[in-house]
Amino acid sequence: MAKDGLIKTGIKGLDSILLGGIPGTNVILVQGVSGSGKTLMGVEFIYRGVVLYNEPGLIVVFETNPDKIIRDAAGFGWNLDELQRQKKLQIIFTSPEVFDQELRSPDSLLLETAKEMGAQRIFVDGIGLLKNNLVDSHSVHRTYRELLQQLIESLNRENLTAMFSLELCNPHGSIAAAAESIDSIADTVIQLARERHGRRVQRSLEILKSRGQDYEGGAHTMYVTGGRGLEIFRRVQAPLPAKSKQPTSSIMRSVIGVEAIDSLIGGGIFDGSTTMVVGVSGVGKTVLATQILREGSLKQKTRGLLISLDEHPAQIIRNAQTIGLNLEEQVADGTIQILFESPQELDIDSHYARIVQLIEEQDIQRMVIDGMTSYSTAIGEIGVYRDFFHAMVAYSKQRLMTTFFNYENPEFLGISSYMPDFPLSSIVDNLILLSLVEINNSLHRCISVVKSRGSKHSLDTREFVIGQGGISLLPLEQNPVPALPLQGYSSLLSRAPTRFSLPTRIDNGATAEGKK
């Protein structure tokens, strides 16, 4: 047991959800339907106790062959045989009747074994089987609740932290009448679920209660990973533990390194701010992202992360290379990381955890998510999508990380809404609009800074080109459009750019509006 009086389960991600562990004397119940991972959780609880915290343990099974437990554990790299040889673990195969009798017997072999080993943890697999054992050895009839209370009392007396598993018959978690008793007697109740989402099966873990402590509520994603064991991923939408003060930066930096563009944004953007770059497919969002990360890496010595659900790293590097943006070197030396994950069957909790882990391990200061539309499609549920985005923004601000979200707007010419599938533009600090406009018979790229909190940005829409070195603004006085400079048009963003009419001189020297 740790100094804070908490028992660490040692199961990856679980102690974090339990805000450190489980209070020492709590009786833990793990319940769920068949195949949800109850036995695995119990075995891992004991295994981690031995190997991480030097707390010997007992595993008591009534139906499962211990040989199979040892075999299956080997698949996760846990050598239970060896721990048994070292007398740090004992797997005991017995019957519910004997187990009940042993816990109440003064000369109990089971408790004698526990004492000899110095056992501190016990896992009992299938506590529901005890409900058929309501008449004790003195022919006294007990209720199931009384039986459980006796059992818990015995384990507490021996200072054993107990974890029980209970099989639920109903996939939706409703508990059979006999099982209700243990649910209320146990101090910590962990519910495991295995549910189908479309054709995919997903495991989840929810802490229903845990006396004497706070914990992160809701359903968290659970993985059974070969070679490792259980991995719990905190649900994305769970709020971060409260911090006393939200860090805020007053340092404004060039983000793109192209002076003209930075001046359009008001000279740069604040460190730790969030920016949404909205634009149709092919307008240059990924190029802008590449420039932002290169600028950070080369000139400001900030480490960057590009996250994509659409393009794998080799393709991103190749595409950047064609316009003279060399990413290979930065990727090789680790100053720019590229995280690609397929949008197919994307599990957002584990994906979010991987992003956070990468950011923290690599000390990332600039991040680009390219792009949000793929998340919207991959996640499917609008609420989860919104939660992911909110969590990403909150986390980014907490770390004072400068973050860009690329959003592909489906409207080709002009836009009627920044984010038509779910309006989230209000929570970002800066909003950059990349648009295509049709002039004569060709498409031109334009950039507008729609919002930039705390800075004096330009409201001009400026034309840009993508060439060697990435994006560059066309100077106002050297506009290559043959007909009229960009300022010669109105309604550029309203799907119908319209030329201003030129004033025509009439005989008396006055001017009059010409035909449009």
Binding site: T64, P66, D67, D72, A73, T94, V98, E102, S105, G227
Partner: protein, 144 residues
């Protein structure tokens, strides 16, 4: 227990020894561990596969489908032969375990037999070689 599917590694045999066994005949192994009855083999393999069994002989008998009296006799015999160890009794139950201090020759025979019994063909071979347990009348006759 929930497995990790294809990534599961097969567990090393229950009885692990560094030395690689030479091929031994089935009869040699059976003679080596002193087993001649099918009931002895069934009880031995039950104890072997269950690590530490905390139960009565009667419960083991019910689990493997033998009369209680036969299993009690067999457990005593296996303990005498130094193949298993039994704890002191506590309210009719004991811990039954494979004797960890078994000599290496016994380990070798036992490992070979356990390995053989993992296939159906091996189990049939064993069943052919071993005598079926005696019925109650047979036991009485033998006793007289």
């Amino acid at each position: 227990m929930t497995s990790a599917g294809e990534q599961l590694q097969p567990r090393a045999n229950v009885i692990i020894e560094d030395e690689k066994p030479r091929e031994l005949s089935l009869q040699e192994c059976l003679d080596g561990v002193g087993i001649s009855q099918l009931s002895e083999w069934d009880v031995l393999i039950f104890v072997c596969r269950h690590g530490a069994s905390l139960m009565s002989a009667d419960k083991i008998a019910r689990l493997i489908g033998y009369p209680s009296v036969i299993v009690s006799d067999v457990l005593d015999r296996l303990e005498r032969e130094k193949l298993i160890e039994c704890s002191r009794p506590s309210r009719g139950v004991r811990f039954f375990r494979i004797l960890t201090s078994m000599d290496s020759r016994h380990w070798l025979y036992l490992r070979q037999l356990v390995s053989l019994s993992e296939s159906r063909a091996g189990r049939l071979q064993l069943a052919e070689r071993l005598k079926a347990p005696l019925s109650d009348s047979g036991r009485k006759e033998q006793a007289s």
